[in-house]
């Protein structure tokens, strides 16, 4: 291209390019800063540490024995939900929790990779055999939520749906009075 102001054009082109590059770099820096802020300030971090467990002995002893699965009110008043995923169901298949209560979900897999996702919430974690997954959760509204397995776990995957039932805080407290592990299986 021939143009009387070719030099001036080059200057404009370079300035425009530099401006765009600057904007791009700012975008690139702001995104992780936002993630860091939300992570530290609002405590929305993924599970901080790695915890292992032997999936072949889950049913024999320890935290994920059948009698220990479900929702527990710990001695210090904290609420913990323990669950396992296995081809092709969750145990317990219906999880009972109180509304408006911060809780911890601890879960693992007895065989292959599964995932727990509670529809309509951001509760979403993988279950990898050999490892324990931990996720904090809190439900504001009572009601039933579907809880599908979100990872391909072989031919029965499409049938692996559980449920979470969120009940009133006071009602939960009265049901939890006698201790033990709560669930809504068979209700």
């Amino acid at each position: 291209m021939t143009h009387p102001d070719a030099h001036q054009d080059t200057g404009i082109a370079e300035r425009t390019e530099r401006r765009w590059a600057t904007i791009s770099v700012i975008v690139m820096i702001v995104l992780p800063l936002m993630a860091a802020y939300a992570g530290i300030h609002q405590a929305t971090m993924p599970q901080p540490r790695v915890e292992t467990i032997d999936p072949t002995r889950l049913h024999l002893s320890g935290e994920f024995m059948e009698s220990n699965l479900g929702t527990a009110v710990e001695p210090d008043g904290a609420v913990t939900v323990r669950a396992i995923g296995q081809q092709y169901s969750f145990a317990p298949s219906c999880i009972l929790v109180p509304a408006e209560t911060p809780m911890m979900l601890r879960a693992t897999s007895a065989d292959v990779v599964h995932g727990i996702m509670v529809q309509g919430t951001n509760i979403n974690t993988m279950l990898v055999p050999g490892y324990v997954s931990e996720q904090s959760m809190r439900f504001d509204k009572t009601g039933d939520y579907l809880m599908p397995c979100q990872e391909f776990c072989s031919f029965g995957h499409e049938g692996m749906w559980g449920k979470v039932r969120v009940i009133d805080k006071a009602e939960f407290a009265s049901r939890a009075k006698n201790g033990g592990r709560l669930s809504c299986v068979g209700e």
Partner: protein, 540 residues
């Protein structure tokens, strides 16, 4: 006409033939899991189909396109004889053998583990060995690209490497290092178990190794499309490439930051700590840079075409663009899909937002839009652009070509927008069947139906594409002349060494992968208590 047209046509025809088959499977899957179909009586068929669709679309189709395009670039950009033609054919036949070896057990239902493998699920060893052969075949291509460039550099000391070849070789190095993660997983973990030498496997470690490949592979898929943006589009529409330097920087950035970000696929996994998840999230932000630079440079290059054609005003030049030209249409569609897909990708890279859509249909919608949409439409464009140089015949009917591109764009919009939406509603991935009569799932029935209709629009467009190529192979003869690439606005007389070679960037690529993956991998390898029994699929 290109001298190695037989070799290039073999790659393209195989690529597009398997693409056509996998597209049929994809449309079938969309149909059977939608409310349009009553109930799949044997869900196992669905998972066979998903495995075949993913393996072909992820490993075979884009690899063959990158290879064929790479050979075309080597010959026409370097203007020298292709060194190692016989080896190129060896690579091609390895891919054919590997693809057949992998697909037979999949078709028999002995390897329904999906293309992402998912150990401790273990399928037939032939499936994994077939995938390895495909990768080995493509590594021959990587070596050939490097050797050919080396030969050229020796004959042209100090000359700037033509941009097309610079980008092509960057893409080939990217692929070589990308594939290492999955190769380690396959060779050290999965294949020994599939062959029966071992009965246990660390599923967490396998997921980390696979994430090394899983994200960077998408940049390998998109590099041919980006090369087409820079070296085909400006030439085809009568513009100039705005900046040769920016193009080189973009490809170098892809090379460096594609790998050390893959752990963003495992935000929800228990086997990686929060620290490395954050580091990978931050590095994922860096990978937006080459795309933002590319969008700017290509829009500027297109604007030059518009103004050269007499377009005026702030946006008036867009009306002056050659919209009847299929390449113009393809790049416009590609950018629209890249825009939506990129915005979705920014949601996926943030681990706070990721939790709401992780492993939902949102993810499937996302990568179909960005790979199947933005990237594959450029594969169509580069095939159309190259075809006359490969066949010695002109493509007969440009209207049909435009219709095909329009259908692909519309089909992709109709398919992926509702797909994203049901993901937000919490619809999980990879299920053969959903009970839409459940009140909680019934709102998903309509969007899933719309999405399935979109899949058939895509199928129509894909078959039309094959038809156009086939017709182009029998049309009247016409000498297309030498295959040329776009000219930059300012002629490139010299390029700084750093933008003309790869040494320092390859060192940085490996170093960053080691710093970002070294500890997570070493920590898992060092733990003794993480191996779990393998669960064998299918074989009864």
């Amino acid at each position: 006409m290109l001298a190695n047209r037989k070799l290039i046509l073999a790659h393209f025809w195989l690529a597009f033939a398997v693409f056509g088959l996998a597209l049929c499977l994809g449309a079938w899957q969309m149909f059977v899991r939608s409310p349009l179909y009553v109930w799949i009586s044997d869900p196992e068929w669905y998972y066979r189909s998903v495995t075949a669709h993913g393996t072909v679309m992820g490993y075979v189709f884009p690899t063959l396109v990158a290879m064929g395009f790479g050979y075309a670039i080597t010959e026409s950009a370097l203007e020298q004889r292709l060194v190692g033609l016989r080896w190129a054919w060896v690579g091609f036949w390895l891919i054919v053998a590997g693809a057949i070896m992998a697909m037979v057990p999949v078709a028999l239902g002995r390897a329904s583990v999906l293309y992402t493998f998912y150990p401790p699920l273990i399928g037939s060893a032939f499936y994994y060995i077939g995938v390895v052969l495909v990768v080995v075949g493509s590594w021959i291509w990587v070596a050939l690209m490097s050797i050919n460039l080396h030969v050229w550099k020796r004959a042209h000391p100090g000359d700037p490497v033509p941009l097309a070849m610079f980008a092509n070789v960057a893409g080939s190095y990217l692929w070589a290092w990308t594939a290492v993660g999955a190769a380690l997983e396959l060779l050290l973990q999965i294949i020994p178990v599939a062959l029966g030498f071992k009965a246990t496997i660390d599923a967490g470690l396998a997921r980390v190794l696979f994430s090394w490949t899983l994200h960077a592979i998408v940049y390998f898929w998109l590099i041919p499309a980006y090369i087409a943006f820079y070296v085909i589009v400006p030439r085809a529409i009568g513009g100039r490439l705005y900046s040769d330097t920016m193009a080189r920087i973009s490809f170098i950035l892809f090379l460096i930051v594609s790998m050390p970000i893959g752990i963003h696929h495992t935000y929800a996994d228990p086997q990686v700590g929060a620290g490395f998840k954050f580091i990978h999230s931050a590095f994922t932000a860096v990978v937006t840079l080459p795309t933002l630079f590319t969008v700017f440079t290509i829009c500027a290059s297109v604007e030059i075409a518009g103004r050269l054609r007499g377009g005026k005003g702030l946006l008036g030049w867009t009306a002056a663009l050659p919209w009847e030209n299929p390449i113009m249409l393809a790049v416009a569609f590609s950018f629209i899909m890249l825009g939506f897909g990129g915005a979705g990708g920014i949601i996926n890279m943030s681990y706070q937002l990721n939790a709401s859509i992780h492993n939902t249909q949102w993810i499937t919608g996302h990568f179909h839009l960005i790979f199947g949409g933005a990237v594959v439409i450029m594969y169509f464009a580069l095939a159309y652009d190259l075809w006359p140089h490969l066949t010695g015949r002109s493509l007969p009917d440009l209207r049909l070509v435009r219709t095909q591109l329009w259908l692909w764009f519309i089909g992709m919009m109709v398919t992926t927008f509702p797909w994203h939406w049901v993901g937000i509603l919490g619809m999980p991935r990879r299920m053969a069947y959903y009970d839409y009569t459940d009140p909680a799932l019934s709102p998903q029935a309509l969007p899933v139906t719309v999405s399935a209709i979109g899949a058939f629009i895509l199928l129509t467009s894909g078959l039309l594409f094959l038809f156009i190529l086939a017709r182009g192979s029998t049309a009247s003869r016409a000498e297309a002349g030498p295959y040329r690439f776009s000219r930059p606005l300012h002629p490139v007389r010299s390029v700084p060494l750093a933008l003309n070679s790869y040494g320092i960037w390859l060192a940085l690529m490996i170093a960053l992968t080691v710093t970002n993956y070294g500890y997570p991998i070493a920590a898992l390898v060092a733990r003794q208590d993480t191996s779990v029994p393998a669960i064998y699929v299918g074989a009864q």
